[in-house]
Structures are given as C-alpha cells and as structure tokens.
Symmetry: D2
Subunit: 353 residues, 4 copies
C-alpha cells in the first residue's frame, strides 16, 4: 500500500530538521525579532526580486488567509473567490468569523476568469443599491488552485489589469507554490508573482517545512501595526525563529525549488503512465496533484493499493480520485504505484465519462 493522500502527511525536509537540531540551544529573542527571521526575510526578498517587500511568518494556511484578508480589507469589504476556492469552502468560516463576506464567482478548474471578474465588478459599480452591498476589495486566487491547475503569466496580467481598473487588490494563495513554480510548461516565476500580486504567501507546510507560511507584501506596504494584528489573531509564534529557520533553509541553495521539482517530476511520471493505461482525467494538471476518474467498480481495487483521496462524484457510476505527490514521495513509492496499477478497463470503449 502506497501513500498518495496528500502533501502534508510527513515531517520536514531533512535540512530543516538538521538546522532545528543544530540551533536548538541558541538563545533568541522572541516573536520573530531574531536575526534568523531577518535573514530568512532577506533571502525571500531576493528570491522574489522584491527588495522592499514586507515579509511575515505564521504557522498555517487558514491562519494566513484569515489574517491577510482581514487586515488588507477595510471592514466593509469582501473578498472575491472562485466558488471552489479554499476560503469559500474549507476554512470553517474563518473569513466570515473575521467579518468579511466571500463573494463567489464560478470556478473554472479552480480558476477565476478575468472576464467574469470584470463583468462582476462593472456590474457592482453600476448597481444603484451598491451602498447596501458588500464592496469587493480583493480577489483571492490560489496558484496552484485546489484543482492543481495553474494560471499563465498572461492570465495573471489580465487579472492584475482588471483589479487595477477597479482599484481592488490581488491576493495569491501559494500554499503549494513550490509545485506551481516547478511545473512543466509554466511561465510564472516568483518574481512575476511579486510583480503582479499585492500580497501572496509562500507555502511551507505543504512544501517541505514542518509548518509555516511566509506572507509577502512585495511593495512593502503591509498594513500598519502588523505584529500587533498578527498577535490579535492569535497567530504570533513565541519562538518565531522556528519559522525563520525553516524559511531560511528553504531559500538556501534553492531547496524550495528542489523540493517542488521532485514532487512535480514524480507526478509527471504517474500522469504519463496513467495516460498510457487509458485513465481518463477529471482535469489536466501539471503540478503535484493528479485527478483521475475511476469507474465505481474499480474503486476498491485501486484504493487497496493506493491511498488517495476521493475528490468528487461526477456521476453515479464514477468517482474522481486525487493522487498527490510531495517533496517526500520516494522512488520506491512511485515504482510500487506504477507496478500495481492496471490498465483502465475498456469494455465497450465508450463509457469513460
């Protein structure tokens, strides 16, 4: 049985654990005021080519989304997201808990469409009753999306343009950013994101860290009193250098990219083989998440050999499964998976969805 359930099921890249070990007894000032955090922030600024960037470290993704959205928005503003966006579905209402509406647009394989966004924003501005409505203040996108898909640089530029045209901000959730940056065919780099987004985060938890996300305001325009606001959200880690150590390590010698590269290449191999075996895909992806559609009668056999999450039920005869690699996926696991998976049954040839 091999494990492809998700990308946050094991600890940290060995380099990180080693550093935690070697620095363990070094005394540090608290709450992120230590030199390791400063150094990690500097490395992130360099990687982003954003020398003015404000960088903050917190421990998890929901926390990050709640904090960023609540602090960047005015209290009367809401955040626009794809209906399938993490903040719209899987944050247990953390965004609304902080007072902000998630305004849902259709998701297109997880992505927000710039045309639909433009149309929504224009409609809002023409709305006579708009003083009685939640003002859109930000667009939330994830890259990769919850469906493993990626925006192209042109798509990001167009979203940016729409946002600029309406004076709202663009926020990019990079929980799995390593896997986006290293995907085959992507033309979006970290400096691109720094240029195009008003704020984004570099995911650590799913990309090799024990835990931790780095929030980046590339233009250095983080809202004032940010440390106080982080603490007010219960998100200020006492031993802040633990986050500093992790991100400094991830951004030394390109480790963040190596980890992303590894997961994506592992996924590429699985994708290629599943395609060869005739498996239909729910969505075409190039990152570490693969979504295939199984006939329900295949399900038990498949899951007996591969631990993988049920993703959707497209119809009563089929089930979509997510296979997820990570920085820690081993050669052995790939081999086991590829060895066990049987060709997709072709009875009648015409019922693959």
């Amino acid at each position: 049985m091999v494990f492809f359930t998700n990308d946050y099921c094991i600890g940290a890249a060995p380099e990180i654990l080693e550093r935690l070990q070697s620095d363990n007894l070094i005394r540090q000032p608290g709450y992120g005021t230590d030199p390791v955090c400063q150094s990690a922030k500097e490395k992130i600024r360099k990687a982003c080519r954003a020398p003015e960037a404000d960088v903050f470290f917190v421990t998890g993704g929901t926390q990050t989304n709640q904090l960023v959205i609540d602090t960047v928005l005015e209290p009367y503003e809401g955040v626009i997201a794809a209906r399938t966006g993490h903040v719209a579905v899987h944050e247990a209402g953390a965004i609304e808990y902080s007072g902000h509406k998630v305004i849902e647009l259709p998701g297109h394989e997880g992505k927000v469409d710039a045309g639909e966004l433009e149309s929504y924003l224009t409609g809002f501005e023409q709305e006579e009753a708009r003083e009685h409505m939640v003002a859109p203040g930000m667009v939330y996108i994830s890259h990769p999306t919850e469906y493993g898909t990626l925006y192209t640089k042109d798509e990001l530029k167009t979203l940016r343009k729409v946002c600029d045209g309406h004076g709202i901000r663009l926020y990019l959730d990079g929980a799995r950013l390593a896997y986006a940056l290293c995907a085959q065919g992507t033309d979006v780099t970290l400096p691109d994101i720094s240029k195009l987004a008003d704020v984004f985060y570099i995911g650590g938890t799913k990309c090799g860290a024990l835990f931790g996300e780095a929030i980046v305001f590339p233009k250095g325009d983080a809202p004032s009193h940010y440390v106080t606001r982080i603490k007010q959200h219960g998100a200020l880690l006492a031993k802040g250098w633990l986050l500093g150590i992790q991100f400094e390590t991830l951004f030394t010698d390109g480790l963040y990219y190596k980890l992303g590269e590894h997961a994506d290449r592992m996924a590429d191999r699985i994708r290629k083989e599943l395609e060869r075996l005739g498996y239909p895909f729910l969505i075409e992806t190039t990152t570490n998440q693969i979504f295939i559609i199984l006939k329900n009668e295949q399900l038990d056999a498949f899951r007996a050999i591969v631990c993988a999450e049920v993703w959707e039920v497209p119809d009563s005869a089929h089930t979509a499964i997510r296979i997820c690699t990570s920085w820690a996926t081993t050669e052995q696991e790939i081999k086991s998976l590829l060895l066990c998976v049987k060709p997709f049954p072709k009875i009648n040839g015409n019922d693959n969805q």
Copy 2:
C-alpha cells in the same frame, strides 16, 4: 407622475400617529419594559395562536436579520439562503460582520427549493471534510420573497420537514408579511407560520408602521439573555414603548390585515389591467409587488408617468420594472396609473421576451 417605487416611502397608518400623539406625555419605563409592549406582545401571541411565544421589538429589517441569525446560530454555524435572498445580497454584509457565512442555494423566483435544500444538507453530512466547513444551522426564507412570490403551506411544511430531518432551524423574514397574508389564493396564515417556523418576524416598517419589526419565537425558546444581546447589537430602543404602541395598534381590530388587504387589492387591479394591455411579467406574483418587462424603447415614456424601480436587465433589449403598492396607495394613484399606461406594443408579436 405617480409613485410606485416602494412600500416604505411614507410615514405611518394614521391610527399609529394618533396613538403616538395621545400617549406622548405618558411616562413609561424604558427599554421595552413598559405595559404597552406587554400588551402588544400579547396581541401578537393571540394573532399567532402561540400563547408561549417570545416576542421582541426592534427598529429595522437588517437589524432584525443580523440579530436573529447571530443569536440563534452557534458561532460555527452559517445560514442557508437563496442566492437572491436579502441577507445574501442587500444587507451590506451585516450577517458576515456578525461572524456567520451566508450559504447560497439557487433562488427560484426568490424561493428556496426543498429538494435542493435536502440535497445540500445530505451532501454536507456525507462530506468527509465537514469539520473544515461551515455547518449549516438555519434556513432563511422570506415570505413574500424579494420577488413578491409566496410559499404555499405545503412548501413550508416540506421545508420544515427537511429542517427537522437535519436538525436545523427555519427562519422566515416577514418584512412584507401583511402583503403575504392577504394575497389572493394564499393558504398560509400567521398561525401556520408560527407552527412551521422556529423564528420569524412581522414586518412593521413596510406594512404601516413608522418603523419596527416584531421578532417572534413561537415556541417561547428565545436564546437566553435576549435583552442583553439586543443591546449588544445596538438594537435596544430606549423608548421601547414607541414600538409597543405601533404593534399594539397594528394588531388591534385587524389593522395589520386591513393594510395588507388594501395594498394587495390595489396591486391586483394594476396587474389585471397590465395583463389586459399585453404586458409580459418577469414573475407571476399575487402580492404588492408587480414585475413587468418593458422594451427598452418604452422605458422613458413609462417612467415619465410612473415612478418605479428598475429591477433587472433580462437582456439588452428589455428592462424589468417593479411596481410596488403599499397600505398607503390611493385610489387616485391607481386611477392615474391605469389612465396613463398604454397597451404593450405588439410589433411582430413575437418579441415579448
């Protein structure tokens, strides 16, 4: 030019103003602890045939929706509403401001469909990740809806059954309740609503009062410390008896029904005439709101004689207009309107949407 823009554009039924005048110098204890409020509540209990009901008075609709939803829901719960529901669209985010997500279902002429509700709730309960999602705790419906439509008693019973099946509450927004109760053909009475809803409000602002809404918990199970919670929401009127006077008057000698009856009959006459003149309707209604579709070239002429709100733009050639009567609509206004409106143009006969 006659005024059919909305039903909250003038003061109060004369009976109410007279009572305010005659009671003006009577000393009263504050914050709704006065005998007039007690008497008004008792009259409402009788009208609802709900002798155990808890009744509270507040000043407006958004305030009521925010208060009821926030106090009835647990902090981790959200409220389900039609996508067109007032709480989903036109409360300026007051629901989210109090921490709760509005979970949107499709609206069917403003109504929530019991089948879709059942399907959503079942889906949620089967969801593996439901601990990471907003738990549905209440269904919000409006009666009449924002589109002037009504639920039948059977529809309400079915919604009730679905709610019971999943342990969630049913909340009915009665901002225009008088116009629902007096509509031709409705089989839903105030006692029916008291039996079928967990909580609802009887609208005053749009139905003859200067201002004010009566929140009713028919089973007498209002959340504890309700006066404190009303005050905490900034919604406790110092001179509470002003609300008591208004509702006592509305529920004396059937005034509330007389006012509703008047508006609905006025609307019936307009509806009948517009139908005769060949006007197409956006939605069939029996309450005080009438939605007709005009060709854009008719718009200026029509609005030159009738003040009415643009409701929707169904397509680039047509515009939907809302004509709204109220308890205060005069015979003269109806006559003016009917006199001026010209037959709907029948060029080609086939383009009425």
Copy 3:
C-alpha cells in the same frame, strides 16, 4: 407621586410630533437620502459653525457609540474611557462585540483627567511590549458625564492637546448635550465642541426627540463608505427622514436649547431647595441630574413621593439617589416635589457622610 426617574420616559416635544403628523403622507426616498435630512444636516452644520461637517443620523446611543468607535478606530485600536463611562459599563459589551477594548482610566465625578491621560499615553509609548498591547486610538468622554458633570472649555482644550500630542482622536458622547449647553456657568458651546472634538454626537432621545442621535464629524472627515458601515451595523433606518424631521425641528428656532434650558432651570430650583433643606450632594452638578445622599431610614419616605433612581451605595448607612429633570418636566411636578420634601434630619449634626 412625581416622576424624576430619567429623561427618556416620555415621547417627543410637541413640535416634533406635529411635524411627523403634517409630513406623514409625503413621499420620501429611503435611507436618509431625502431632502429633510439634508436640511437638518445643514441646520446642524450652522449651529456647530462647522460648514464642512459630515452628519449622520441613527436611532440610539449604544448604537451610536458602537458605530463611531468601531468605524473611527483601526481594528487593533482601543478606546480610552473613564471607568464610569457609559461605554465601559452600560453598553452590554457592544464595544467589545465590535472588537475593541475599552481601556479604563479612573473617573473623577465621571470625567477623564488630562494629566492621567497624558501619563497613560506616555507610559504606553515607552512600553517595550506595546506591540503586544491594545493601542489607544481614541478618548471617549461624555458631556454631561454619567454623573451630570461638565468639562470646562479649558479642560476640553487640554484633553485636545493631549490627544494631539499622541495622535489619537477625541470623541464626545452628547447623549444629554442640550442639558450641558444650557447649564449655568458652562463656557462650552456647540461650536467649541465642534472645534475641539474629532467626532461627537448630539443626543436626541434624551433631549426632546422620540429617538435619534446626530453623529457629527466637524471636519468632514468621516470614514469612507459610511452609509454602508451604518447598514452593516444594522443601524440604517429605512425611513431616514423620520430622523431628519426630528433634528430639523430641534434645530429650528433654537428648540434644542429651549428644551435644555427648561430642564436645567427646573433642576436648579430643585437643587437650591434641597440645599436649603440641608441635603448633602454626592456630586455638585449644574445640569439636569441631581445626586443627593439619603440616610437609609429616609429612603422609603422619600421614594414614596418622588420616583428617582438609586444611584450608588456610598456606605451601609446611606444611599445616593438621582433626581432627573427633562425638557418635559412640568411646573406642577416641581411644585409637588418641593412641597413634599422634608428638611434633611440633623440629628447630631455630624453624620451627613
């Protein structure tokens, strides 16, 4: 039995009811966009000699305090108030409900002391851990205070100077402002307040209106999207002109001052007589609230003739009572009170606290 319990126990000044009556059937646009509100705001601007002022009307005091404090403060800021201030004690936590801490300073007969304020603010700024503390963003004062006392113009100027020195705002709660402006010996005028406070409100509910408070930003710098924020707080009255009518009437022909004048003169007469009769005062006041200290054995007899609130229990042998006049206190009531009250007993002469 005469009624001196409070100043919000009866309806409105007759002029207001007449105007509500005469305007009752005039059609008005909703939500305060009507011409009456515009005219009322203009009259308030004139009375304040603040031609640029932003003015908003809402229905009650708690609502006003919650709204102003929440919208003027940044989310990480708190409001400083006297420990006895209304927002610290009697708002049912409405300020904290909107996310802000009330930072308590000692109250001196209800007043904040500028020296203690300066000292607190300086201390905060020198505090090493201040990023982990609530940042003071505003000082809340009431005028008259909850103890009926008044600030002098010099005191207000000093508070203003302290606020300026630390970059925080000064908010004046004028729930009983009429009674402050008309007190004997006060040197503080409405234009003074407009010059010295960043935001304040002119109380209607306790000063002759049915309900309603006028929020004034004298410099015209109200936070953006204010109508949306009012609605988000559930505080936007549909029939906004009801507030407009009341404030236009109050600020026509000096009615607001006449009402205040009346109440204060009535109180002066009571004060003088009680003093003559040997009653000890808890606090010296010049406004419509009088606080006397009774021996407990006097209490029943006193309250048998005068309805008045128990205010404090200074020690186990005495009880402080508040006698409160209002714009509506009648000559007859004063006479009855003065007729019935007996000289304060002087047994031993030395135990008047």
Copy 4:
C-alpha cells in the same frame, strides 16, 4: 554575560527533537487525527487523573486564551481577570477581537482574590441595570501568575466555590504550569487542577516544547464542534502530530516534571544567594521567576553581567528586574550569575525601598 531574560528563548528539550527526527518520515493523517495525538491525550488524561477529559493541542498561548475564552463563553459574556492578567494586558486585544470584555479585578501579586470576586459577582447580580452590562461568565487565573506567584489548594477551592455559587466557570492559564507543579511548598497537583478548574491548559512553549499548549476540559465537556471552532480561529495545525509528539514526550517518564523541577531548583539557588547578599524582592516567589529591586545606580552594572527584563519601576530611584530560569538553564549559567553578583549596597541601611 548570562541569559535569564525569559523561558521561551531556546528550542526544545532534546527528547522532543529526537522524537521529531525519528518520526519525521512516518506518514500521518492530518489535523490531529493521528495516533500520536491520541496517545498524547491519553497520557495527559492519566497525568490529570481525568479519564473523561477532552484534550486539544494548539500552538501558542494567546491563541489558546482567545480560543478557550471565546468558545466557552456565551457571546454576551465576559471574562473576569486580575488587572495584571495576561489576557487583560498582553494579548493585543485578542480577547476583545473575539467579542468578549475582560472584566478587571485588582491583582494581588498577580492573583485574583476570592473575596473580591464574590463581592463583584454579588454586586453584579444585585445590579438593577445588569441586563445592560456584560454578564461575567468565567474567571481567568494564571498559575503561576505573571508575577510568578502560586495559588494554594485552599485558594483554588475557594475560587471554585465562588464560581459554583454564581454559576460561572473557572479557567486556569498554565503557560508555565511545570514551574508551578514543581515549586517548593506548593500543595497543588495536576489532578487538583483537573478537579478544580473547568478548563485549563498545560503550557508547552515555556516548559520544554518547541511550541504547543494542551487545552484540557477535565470533565469531557468541551463545547461541540471543537475542531471546527479551532479551525475557525485559524488555530488548527495541519500536521497535528507535531503537537502530539511533543506532548507525548513531555508526559513520558515524567519529563514535564523533570523540566519544571530543574528550572525551579535553579531559581531556588539564585533566590537564596540574592537573599544572602541582601537584595530586596519585589514579590516573594517559589517558581522560576525572581523579581528583585535594584537601585537605579546598580542597574547598568547588573545588566552588564545578567540579561534580565526590566519589570516595573516602583519609584524613581529603583527598578524591578525579573530573573527567569527555564528547563534549559545550565549549571554554568547559574555559576556565572552567582559569581558576578555583588552584595546589595547597604549605605545607611534604610533605603531598600
């Protein structure tokens, strides 16, 4: 220069890092559903002799306080704390951010006095206007307090009794609990706390863990949907087992007690020597925090050899300094400190505060 600034300035007990290392590549289910967390919870239940306890792990103290207070209180309730309590002063308003007032009582060397508590609660219940006030729902105490002091078992029992008498809950903040449990002379054990508090937390961050606090509801009556509420607060760690590993390690072979014991004994030695040298203490403590009062002219010399926090300024001639040991304080550090500290100057003998 030796470091006695605080107890959260270095990493984790070696046993914890070893376990993180050895388990690093073991695949685990997310969000605390893993077997390590289950085992850690079981060990905590045993240590507490509370077999029914609900246990939850989160990452930090402010987060814990915000979460526990917000989820245990009803939305209209506030939490009572000493004026010097962490939630009253140093949480950046995180409690108010979640909507709850911190009701301040005097602190007595950091402790809440049961008599004052009783008096406050009785007063509140007799208050006529209590519906307009924040209802006290919980008492917050810290053990050790922010001043390093401890409650006795009798004091805790009395507080419990007062809470029971008024139907409110008792919450104990155990950020430094190890140092309380191992202090000389304390008669309060973990099972005692489990019997006497409704909810408490066992601090990890300051007591040997990298990070993490264990929230314990000893009676197993945690509010429903607790995982959802943790996530809603942004406090649900994806790799929950990281917390499980730390607490399992701390509660294996008495490690938690060993760490506490070590710090307290180190502090005892410092205390004894400082006493011998004539240093006056701000407060008598028996835990890992020592507060001494220096003459200002001693300050620079003292701080040149010992890193220690300035705590208070009792008067213009003296400064109180906190010396803080931890589980990681070394023999070498103690020796350096004891070697360098000079006798307290005794000029005139009478000016030690």
